[in-house]
Symmetry: D3
Subunit: 236 residues, 6 copies
């Protein structure tokens, strides 16, 4: 999946933008629950903390490639460069090109966290619906064409029944889906990874980054045990 995400990011990036991929050193192979989302948030915090500690952090911006997952605010505290969430990024782009967007994701259990993410980000007012096609990661892997067809069908329902005029693809790493939706359903389809790469480039281009005057200021240095965790686990 990381390879597919990297490919999508690179396809969206402007010439001169270099895309690096970092994966947590521990955690779950897929994120389909709140528990896995928290574990993943700590995993990406660990990646960043390790790079900062080792002096190897050199990105101009960071994109978190989990749709509807936790972690953005923690990285915003830790870093001075912009941090982008792919669910929020997709919603921003959708609002720029349409009036009402729907998100189409895989499993029904992902609907609630995506709704929560949009609500907390102040981006829910024009969200027509968050829908799921009902296929899990394994099923998507086993039958990619069937998965694309299921997602396209759900996107068509969002347009017809919920009044969406833009679709946000609520999962990362599915090549070809955005084109299939645009072609079949006749509305623009926004991929969150591409949107986040584009917005990251935009922020870097404008010289803007996370405000440190509010809740994203660096946290107090409360003592922590076993941190960074990957080091404590003997993984680095």
């Amino acid at each position: 999946m990381s390879a597919e995400i990297a490919a999508a990011a690179r396809a969206a990036a402007a010439p001169g933008t270099e895309i690096g991929i970092a994966e947590p050193a521990f955690g779950s192979v897929a994120i389909d629950s709140a528990a896995e989302s928290y574990l993943s948030a700590v995993g990406v915090m660990d990646v960043v903390a390790t790079a900062l500690a080792e002096g190897t952090f050199d990105a101009d911006a960071v994109v978190l490639a989990g749709f509807g997952e936790h972690g953005k605010d923690a990285l915003q505290e830790m870093l001075d460069v912009p941090v982008l969430d792919i669910a929020e990024s997709a919603a921003h782009v959708a609002l720029l090109i349409g009036r009402r967007f729907s998100v189409v994701t895989t499993l029904a259990r992902s609907i609630a966290p995506i709704e929560d993410r949009l609500l907390l980000a102040g981006l829910a007012a024009h969200c027509a619906s968050v829908r799921a096609c009902g296929l899990g990661t394994a099923e998507v892997d086993a039958d990619p064409d069937g998965a694309v067809a299921a997602i396209v069908a759900e996107a068509a329902r969002a347009v017809r029944e919920d009044g969406a005029d833009v679709i946000c693809l609520g999962c990362a790493g599915m090549a070809g889906v955005t084109e299939a939706i645009s072609a079949t359903v006749g509305v623009p389809c926004v991929d969150g990874v591409a949107a986040a790469v584009g917005l990251a480039q935009m922020l870097v281009g404008l010289g803007l980054s996370t405000s440190k005057a509010g809740v994203y200021a660096a946290g107090p240095d409360n003592p922590r045990s076993h941190w960074p965790m990957s080091a404590a686990l003997g993984l680095r």
Copy 2:
């Protein structure tokens, strides 16, 4: 702080209710940032997962004693018994006894996560304000009486300026503050730990627990590395 929380919980518990205290095996000594909140969520997940794996989990309900912190939804997925969050619990109790409540917490950086928690829980409509007295953990420890005075003063402002008629105490483990607020400001003051203990007893008494028909159903068993983490860290 755990001892103070335990004392507050035991003071609130009905006769016959036994209060056990569990602490994460790793993480931060205090929670003053999103990063620490995620770390703490994983820490409590680890405690629960370990107890479940060892067959030693025997609680009738679980209270998460971080005001405005993450983790409740993950435990709701993992457990069949009720899981209570102290910020939400305080808000429920406040709504039962007043028209508009304010939360008074310590640091200003805790305001946003508390607002987020209430918004996501659908409990923000009658929240008059979330206010901070501006003292950190260290200052509270160094001058407990001054801290109480500062919290009482902020509570008085919430009543006078924001129209609150109930105060929720937005931090755990501060003995004597609820009495000081009630006595000085003249409005009921709700301690989240006590509220959660009372509500947990209520749910157990009614034989009700988390719905497993929606987002809190047990998650799929995606493979995880280094889990439970405390075992992987050699702590158990």
Copy 3:
């Protein structure tokens, strides 16, 4: 109906909690309109005022057993002990154990007042729907099994179409419905009377009661004629 409500309350009560039942001395035999709801509110005010005047009021808390009806705020003004409304109580409990609840009531004309009650209480944000099975009191009495089936069917629709993961039973005094919903639909079902009894015990246990610092302060003693009304009517 009062007997059924009493039975439900007693079934929910903790050992040591004594349940008394008080009925208005005048008014309507059932509450199916705003007019009847106001009449009922005055009826319960009269019961309480009479008991206060006679010095016989000795409850530790009061539960109003009309789902979506008026009167709670008036009793909160009149009394120093907690006053609970069964619609609000059901919603509080539902929010503690699920993400989105639906209310299932009998007549369609009860939907609007229930929606109003939840909106005013600040508990509407996670209400997925208020639905009616369409049966009136007489029909429920004539065919209790059919009524249960109709309510269960409507609850199933709320789960399937509206995304509810908890059902609140929007009427009092129907034995066996909560079990039927839980068993058939597979989601927890909250009975408002049981919820209110549980929450009343919780408040009493925590030593909390209605804030008198705001709108629930005792009202000014404007002169009233024919009050308490039951005495003026020669009923006491």
Copy 4:
């Protein structure tokens, strides 16, 4: 107070409109609490029910002259002619002539019920504030000029601090206040009684009345004791 309200209504009425005044046969001399508001709602229901029973009801529309009080929905169920609430009427007129209105009332304890009334009526979005000058009925009677000055001062604060460009007068029967506010504060001031009379005439002129297709349909004829109450009390 009834005489002053009648005078205000007559001053607002078009030539040819006849204003009748009806007062409850029982209840409180003033309405300063939820309890008194419910009692008043039943009192006006009784007036209407008595006139309907006696065949003497002949109004083309009914105006309820309590600002923020209960009862409109009950009369809408009972009657086929339009029923107007003075708080809602004032808000409608304010929205037609400005962008944001504030309500200025007498006692602080009236703020919450006025807010509730506007919220339930779907008219709260452009309400800048509901403010109270802090004077009770007795004080207003004792020092009318002082009361006018206090209300004008509060209206000025609403304009300056809350951004209101229209003021709604949140109490009935205070002659001269609307002129004082317009003259001193420089914004239009809407009196609820005048607004309701104007809107009632408008509805009658257009041949429109309450929809009977929804919640305002006539209620079921549940048996009632002691009704109409004034007859049961021997008052008619």
Copy 5:
């Protein structure tokens, strides 16, 4: 269409009210897009500016007869007499006689601007839906009876599926539709032109007009070229 609107206005007007009709000197023959709506707003501004410049403006109130179109705020700035919008007027009247209203318009592309108008006016909370029957102006002209049938059918859907108990007719100049809806669907139907005429008469009767203390104050006299435009175009 102007003739039909004039007829509807005159039918709604009280004896003694004189209805004048003014049409823009330039622009589009129908308004089915945002572009046409802006053009129409400038067209009515031009009519008013010309009359003001010529000293021929003598209306006591102005009604803008475009349902969901721009321009009201500009005229409110320019004029001292009340300015009424037919979409807002219809919603005000609907709220006075029902609990939830739906708007039925012709083309689907008009739904969004009507929703926007109601949202900005603070009148959206009780709007059950805005629906379109899908017929354009040409089709309505070609088959008036079919158009009425299509609108009635959509109104019936709004009542049955969306819970509306009042229908607002979302287009001007269609004689006979309100009667057909009331007769067939059984709910009151509000015509925006009639509503605005009635509300205009009400405001004039009460001596109230637009507040000049806020956003509707006369604008600064920034230099403009080619204004009034009709003069610049050689049309006057």
Copy 6:
């Protein structure tokens, strides 16, 4: 002012992006009212329609440089390339880098239209406030340094009193203000022109443009007189 806007746009543009400036052929020299905003919307429509008719339209995206003004939706109907509004663009960027933003504009009468724009765009939830420094265009021109100081002071109030952690500059063409705010107030300041240029580049880079499946579809070709207006006025 156009020159300053062009300079700001060029400073924000990436290498290779060419910035063209188009001004309406008629209208007002400044936009300080709803009337001027509508006139300006028609002016930009005329510019675009003329270019389309002449075959000279060749932009990859269009930015409307009026903060809180009308017109974007009309251009979205007319064009296939992305159309950006500077108020919405500033809000999008602010949400990406902070939690709560305030807008600081010049005249108080611009506050309402900016609030309206954000509300309609679904971007109001995290807007802490829209504030005005009270200076008009003339005063800004007469004393640029004083104007910068006044805006910076208002931005400081927004941060201190309203909890903003990002400031959006609510007017176009004021060089040096963003730097002054960042330096003095310590929060990021977003200029709408720069934001819109960045977002336009982002959309073009991702190959995305306005959805034509909903309200932004090309309008019906209703006959128009005097269009394009600049031609009718003899200006082209």
